[in-house]
Symmetry: C2
Subunit: 323 residues, 2 copies
């Protein structure tokens, strides 16, 4: 089934869920197939609303997503979910750890859940996740939810592709400090203080408000702080309202288009970069001019900065690499 | 003092410590000055031995470095120390947190200590650290010690520039798990289990040995596990021996040169990349061909992969950018 790529893309375009799963796997495994897939599906992207859910392990992201799924499905919307875990070597449809509750949604064709681990090239996880968002979007899901733990550059990169990013915190454990360190304050659109029945919840909420007083004075959107409790279903309605408000704010301020435009530009420039790197690396491994220059640098006969300019000048400009 | 760059470089070459401090600040603040500085000092690099000290906050890195400094100074060697903390906004000669003990060495002209924070561009900390290593090396320090917390890609990148990397762990706190997650196992040349008078130290040491049984079977160098205690000065001699053994191993196996060669190549390719990115970004912000292509991508009229190729073809190849 789906032995050739054209057939696969056709099945994808006809809405076969198994073709979506296969398309994602192919993109993960083969760069040249990925290019071809994206080229084909790209015109149909840009319709889904992308939600990010970011928080430490144990913050209650899974049950939050579980509730969102139930709510969105009840009103008839379809949802793609991407669970990103850079520390996991696993990828694919497999469930990760404690996401047992999500399992019930697996039977539902209006929902597609995919986990992304570190398989494939390290630097590429953020890029692959972006492309998986595109695949789910082009496939027709109205919502794409991206779950991340929110540590490290890879995850920050991923969070830049979402429309509304929800940062989930819990009382205690110095979460707020960690969050500042990780640069998460800057990318949050909504804060959830989860497990708000635990002691210290008010302190966390107050901390966030205080940090916002310091940071967000100039901004038009001040991320609301929603106190939630998974156990007694507190705060969920408020969260939904906050998402809607943020969406409305982005649209009204023209930011939804502006952000997506900027994102498209950044993504393209990232690919330019990645392609170039690949080309130069290929050349560096063969005998020839690039190799010669690099040897000179190793022998301290040339400094790396002037060598870089020379490589760009003499080798990259050789247009035969761009056929 | 040092108002023009040539005068500054001359003072640097004449061994004025204040010129070293100024050279580092200039490299941090101005890319074009950095290129000129590196071009000038690069031929004199490649002589220092670079030690990495990696471990979580509170693992005892500072007192370990303190001991190393005392030991190396007693035998007459000179040492540059770089303290990298990507989460700190501070940079410069300022002391970070608990490094009071290092302070006594500040009076010693055979020692130069510099802290590196996140000031300047985010993605650039690893690159700047590499260049500061070069400055200290060219300045004539026989040893350069780079201290990092060891989380995130930036720090992994930094650790790839050291000759011998010492990873410092402490009993408890799930250190070993964190270490595997962060990819630190792969870059350790020596393990130190610090605070070995605390309960659980043997367990940590055994965990490391077990993980090495799984991982390092094929390698010629098996990172030794040194148990240390800062309080009763246990294990320090063993650590020094391990460093010496590792240095000897690298030299004998031809790996010291091989690694440095590879490092020079990677660094040059990183700069190629960085330069190109800068060029394309400049173009993207002006009206013109790149801008046009990026707009098409935003409007879903062209996919980002084919756009990337087109940008490389049509714009980067325009050699006027490389004058």
């Amino acid at each position: 089934m789906f032995d050739n790529l054209d057939g696969l893309i056709e099945a994808f375009n006809n809405g076969h869920t198994r073709a979506l799963a296969r398309v994602i796997s192919r993109m993960e495994n083969d760069d040249s197939e990925r290019y071809k897939i994206i080229e084909n599906i790209y015109p149909r992207t840009g319709k889904a609303y992308v939600l990010g859910i970011t928080g430490a392990p144990g913050a209650g992201k899974s049950s939050l997503i579980d509730k969102l799924l139930t709510f969105l499905r009840e009103k008839g919307d379809t949802v793609g979910v991407i669970v990103v875990d850079p520390t996991s070597p696993f990828t694919g449809g497999a469930l990760l750890g404690d996401r047992i509750r999500m399992e019930e949604h697996f039977q539902d064709s209006g929902i597609f859940i995919r986990s992304m681990g570190s398989r494939g090239n390290q630097g590429g996880l953020a890029k692959t996740t972006q492309d998986v968002v595109k695949a789910m979007d082009a496939f027709g899901f109205q919502w794409v939810i991206v779950e991340t733990v929110g540590v490290g550059q890879t995850e920050l990169d991923i969070m830049h592709v979402v429309d509304t990013n929800i940062v989930v915190l819990t009382p205690g454990a110095g979460d707020s400090i960690q969050m500042i360190k990780a640069g998460i304050m800057e990318i949050a659109d909504i804060f959830v203080v989860n497990k708000c029945d635990l002691p210290g919840a008010d302190k966390v909420a107050a901390d966030i408000e205080m940090m916002q007083d310091l940071r967000y004075e100039q901004l038009k959107w001040r991320p609301p702080v929603v106190k939630m409790s998974a156990i007694n279903v507190l705060g969920f309605t408020e969260l939904l309202e906050s998402i809607e408000k943020h969406h409305f704010f982005l649209k009204k301020a023209g930011l939804l288009d502006e952000r997506r435009k900027k994102r498209a530009a950044n993504e393209t420039l990232d690919i330019v970069n990645y392609q170039l790197r690949r080309l130069v690396k290929q050349q560096a491994e063969l005998p020839g001019k690039v190799n010669e220059i690099l040897n000179k640098v190793a022998l301290r006969q040339q400094d790396p900065y002037s060598a870089a300019v020379e490589i760009l000048k003499n080798v990259i400009l050789d247009s035969k690499f761009f056929v």
